[in-house]
């Protein structure tokens, strides 16, 4: 699933490692989500959205 997590994370100057630690997953999982190679659970999507101060729409809704 394509998404905006990487772009938004970089604009906020947060590393993969920092985001991973804050949402309670591994750095690899964040990398996989950003590459669209892993579809996170709704719970994790919400945790990421909260950490990045964005809505689920901003991060995950129909990214082209």
């Amino acid at each position: 699933m394509k998404n905006n997590v990487k772009i938004i994370r970089i604009t906020q100057s947060i590393t993969q490692q920092q985001l991973a630690k804050r949402v309670g997953v591994t750095r690899q999982t964040i990398g996989l989500i950003e590459k669209g190679e892993y579809n996170p659970s709704l719970q994790l999507c919400i945790a990421i959205a909260k950490e990045l101060n964005k809505t689920l729409n901003d991060l995950f809704w129909e990214v082209k």
Partner: protein
């Protein structure tokens, strides 16, 4: 989701999901192996001990093999420095394992009496340590490669 198998699974949700797949695949392969062996048993006499050990070995090696190849053991190894540091840890861990194994063997069974017994124990120790090192090394190498691709 509550299940008794949770204690065998990691906390990270990606790793948890992958591990569940590995366990499920391993179980299906184990089932097929057992069915195959029970059919084969009509034509060849397979010892119970052999068939049981074979079934356990197939199940465990499948899950371990998939885990090692998946490259998800060392999730934070991204830089060359971290890779070298982890490689050193693997060396130390293997050395520590070999020392403890040897010490426990000598305590439990006593000092070997003959040269052949010494050769036997040292060969066993070297094989197990080498296997441990190689599997850890492959896992690290695969993890490092995967992590770099995800940057």
């Amino acid at each position: 989701m509550k299940s008794w198998i949770s204690f065998l699974l990691p906390n990270d949700e990606y790793k948890k999901k992958r591990m569940l797949y590995f366990f499920s695949e391993g179980s299906i392969i184990l089932l097929l192996t057992l069915v195959g062996m029970s059919i084969l048993n009509n034509y060849i006499d397979i010892k119970t001990e052999v068939s049981l050990l074979l079934a356990i070995a197939i199940f465990l090696s499948y899950i371990s093999g998939r885990y090692i190849i998946s490259g998800m053991e060392y999730t934070d190894v991204v830089t060359e420095g971290a890779y070298r540091k982890e490689l050193k840890h693997i060396f130390v861990r293997t050395g520590g394992f070999a020392s403890i194994f040897m010490l426990l063997y000598l305590v439990v069974t006593g000092i070997p009496n003959s040269q052949s017994e010494w050769i036997e124990i040292i060969a066993l120790l070297l094989s197990v340590s080498l296997l441990w090192f190689i599997t850890s090394y492959i896992s690290l190498k695969r993890s490092y490669k995967k992590n770099k691709e995800l940057l």
